[in-house]
């Protein structure tokens, strides 16, 4: 029994760690690939043994880190349903969404919408296959880096924001406890969340046996640009 509880205790944390790490890499890469920021602020780094692009802008990095830091408790408790990276045009209308659907211990998925494309990956893990998860995440990173083949070019002057879709009453507890002071979560505007005529394009699905409890399913969505 003790070993079970130990695993259970660890499991949420481990999953949250892995996911947040991955999300950080993914967000940086999305910003790079989708040209939200000039490519000059990005540098090559190594993650999962492959080169990825990471921004060097301290404030942007801080923002991403803070966001993920606040998100982590939610992921640990399995309260986060989706993490969405929204890319918006000048009028703050979403043009693209990368939706990371998280439903551990059974499912986690990632999506991106603008224009809707759909990546999926699923991984269940047992510790011998941690490297397999890494492989899946690597494959995912690769998918993000070539996703512009299925996405249309973004208009100039885009910005981005990160949305978290929580399950049930998690929002309330989130409002009460600020993980980082003065870095509160706010309810997203309707217009930020919804897009006109989204189109879903499946990009990637994968399944593995790594944590036996966790699955990742990622979907990026695309809809035609006018």
């Amino acid at each position: 029994m003790t070993t079970l509880t130990r695993q259970d205790l660890n499991f949420g944390q481990v999953v949250a760690d892995i996911l947040c790490e991955f999300l950080e890499v993914a967000i940086h890469l999305i910003l790079y690939v989708r040209e939200v920021y000039p490519s000059g602020i990005f540098q090559k780094r190594k993650k999962y043994n492959v080169p990825v692009q990471m921004s060097c802008h301290p404030e942007l990095n801080q923002y991403i880190q803070d966001t993920l830091h606040c998100m982590k408790p939610l992921i640990e408790k399995n309260d986060a349903e989706k993490v969405v990276v929204v890319i918006m045009d000048k009028e703050h209308r979403p043009v693209e969404r990368f939706v990371f659907e998280i439903s551990q211990p059974t499912l986690l998925s990632i999506r991106c919408v603008h224009v809707d494309v759909c990546f999926c990956f699923c991984c269940c893990s047992s510790d011998s296959l941690l490297s397999h998860v890494e492989q899946l995440l690597r494959a995912f990173i690769l998918k993000i880096s070539v996703c512009d083949a299925v996405l249309n070019n973004n208009p100039p002057g885009c910005s981005f924001s990160v949305l978290v879709h929580t399950r049930e009453a998690a929002t309330r507890s989130m409002e009460k406890v600020q993980v980082i002071k003065d870095f509160p979560w706010i309810v997203a505007d309707e217009q930020e969340v919804h897009m006109k005529e989204p189109r879903l394009i499946p990009l990637k699905t994968m399944t593995s046996d790594i944590v036996k409890v966790r699955k990742l399913l990622a979907a990026e969505r695309l809809h035609d640009v006018i």
Binding site: T2, T5, R6, Q7, L9, N10, Q13, V14, Y32, V33, S39, K44, K46, N49, V50, P51, V52, Q53, D127, S128, L130, S131, Q135, R138, A139, I141, L142, K143, S145, V146, C147, D148, A149, V150, L203
Partner: protein, 439 residues
């Protein structure tokens, strides 16, 4: 074959939205690299004629390149729109061939590496199977040789490594020019070659460093030659080596990288075998250790992690064994007996005799459960005639010595339950009271 492979490639490129490099294709379809290049070329040609969907390609160009007065042999991977530009800047072009085909317009060279990474990793043992560079004298080592080599490696490493880096000077030279900023996309793609070359040169360096690093690590355990230590040595030595740098993944990459230029540089081929030999050795060493230790290491990491956050769990674990011990002890009361016998000695032996008598008679009546033992206490405290309950209360203090004595003699007759109960009582006096109260 004919058009079938065109469909294959089309599926990879368009349906899967994959970056198809010649290396990946050759490993996936099991064809020679040169065939793979031809396939890609034909596919691209075909697509261009159709001019249906947009397909992008990258090319590998190598040749003499003059940069800032320095002449060097450069191997670069360039996008096709930069191809002519790069070609025009190389005086003798040694080789031009297609490197990859993909739907997406690549912003940098990173994905090109990522694509090959897993394909190469899956075929680590024979990733050069379809390669153009051959070295018949480069034979993978047997596990026994491998072990010997590991031991010997401590003494060997720096020398061959240095030679190797000198053999790779071509690529090293190549790595220099890109360090100076280049224009636009060209810069990125030129830097594609650069990182590679840098990587390879870095690999050489890192290998030296690694060797240096590994040495102290290995030399430590080497002092303890016992097999147990050996076992740990493998893991400990691997761990730092793997964690510190890219040391483990690069070997896979590394042997491809140098070999790639070599395919184009016939001149360098003379040196190549040496490299290949050494690399293949060092590769095989690491390759095997990688595959083994990768997993074990990962397991290990998790194992290490577990105890840290769960200090509370650790508390739990120690808790349970003691309980087990008490239980184990109880059936074999020898350990508890000594104090008992002492107490017997200390106490009056006459009482003991009395007890015996009483016990025997009442044991037959109940024969099961703890009630019998309760009655024993009565006898000891001379309260044979009194109520059982009262006796138990009084007996609270005495029973410890008395009880085990009883258990001594009754052990053979009575069940394990009783004895275990005794053991518990032996361990904690206070709990005995509670125990009897309940009953």
């Amino acid at each position: 074959m004919d058009d079938l492979y065109l469909d294959n490639i089309d599926e990879f490129v368009n349906d899967h939205n994959k970056i198809v490099t010649y290396k990946w294709l050759s490993l996936t379809l099991g064809v020679h690299v040169n065939t793979a290049k031809q396939m890609l070329y034909h596919y691209l040609d075909h697509k261009r004629k159709e001019s249906s969907a947009q397909v992008h390609a990258t090319y590998l160009v190598s040749g003499k390149f003059v940069d800032n007065g320095q002449t060097g042999h450069r191997v670069s991977v360039v996008r096709e729109d930069q191809l002519e530009d790069v070609k025009s800047r190389m005086s003798p072009i040694v080789s031009v061939h297609i490197y990859s085909v993909q739907k997406a317009l690549l912003k940098d060279s990173g994905p090109l590496y990522s694509v090959d990474y897993d394909a190469v990793k899956d075929n680590l043992q024979n990733c050069s199977r379809y390669g153009a560079v051959r070295c018949s004298s480069a034979v993978p080592m047997s596990s026994l040789e491998l072990q010997q080599a590991r031991g010997a490696r401590q003494a060997l490493p720096p020398e061959p490594e240095q030679k190797k880096s000198s053999a790779n000077t071509d690529t090293n030279v190549v790595s220099k020019p890109p360090s100076k900023p280049q224009k636009g996309i060209m810069g990125m793609f030129a830097s594609k070659a650069a990182p590679k070359a840098q990587e390879s040169s870095r690999d050489n360096k890192s290998e030296q460093e690694e060797a240096a690093r590994v040495d102290p690590v290995q030399s430590k355990p080497a002092r303890k030659p016992n097999p147990g230590a050996n076992f740990f040595r493998v893991q400990t030595s691997k761990k730092p080596a793997e964690e510190k740098t890219s040391s483990s993944p690069p070997p896979a990459e590394q042997n491809l990288l140098p070999s790639k230029p070599q395919t184009k540089q016939e001149a360098a081929a003379v040196e190549a075998p040496k490299d290949a030999k050494r690399e293949s050795r060092s590769k095989t060493k690491r390759v095997e250790s990688d595959s083994e230790e990768d997993k074990t290491e990962k397991k290990k990491r998790r194992r290490i992690k577990k105890p840290d956050p769960d200090s509370s769990d650790e508390d739990v674990i120690p808790d349970s064994p003691p309980r087990m011990e008490t239980r184990r002890l109880s059936p074999s009361p020898e350990k508890e007996i000594p104090p008992v016998t002492r107490s017997q000695c200390g106490n009056i032996e006459g009482k003991v005799r009395k007890r015996r008598r009483v016990l025997k008679s009442r044991a037959f009546i109940d024969d099961e459960g703890c009630i019998v033992t309760v009655k024993d206490y009565e006898s000891e405290s001379y309260s044979e005639t009194e109520d059982d309950v009262q006796a138990t209360r009084q007996a609270g203090k005495d029973p410890v010595p008395a009880k085990p004595a009883v258990s001594n003699k009754q052990e053979d007759k009575k069940g394990h339950k009783k004895s275990s109960a005794n053991a518990n009582k032996g361990a904690k006096q206070a709990s005995i009271m509670g125990f009897f109260h309940k009953k």
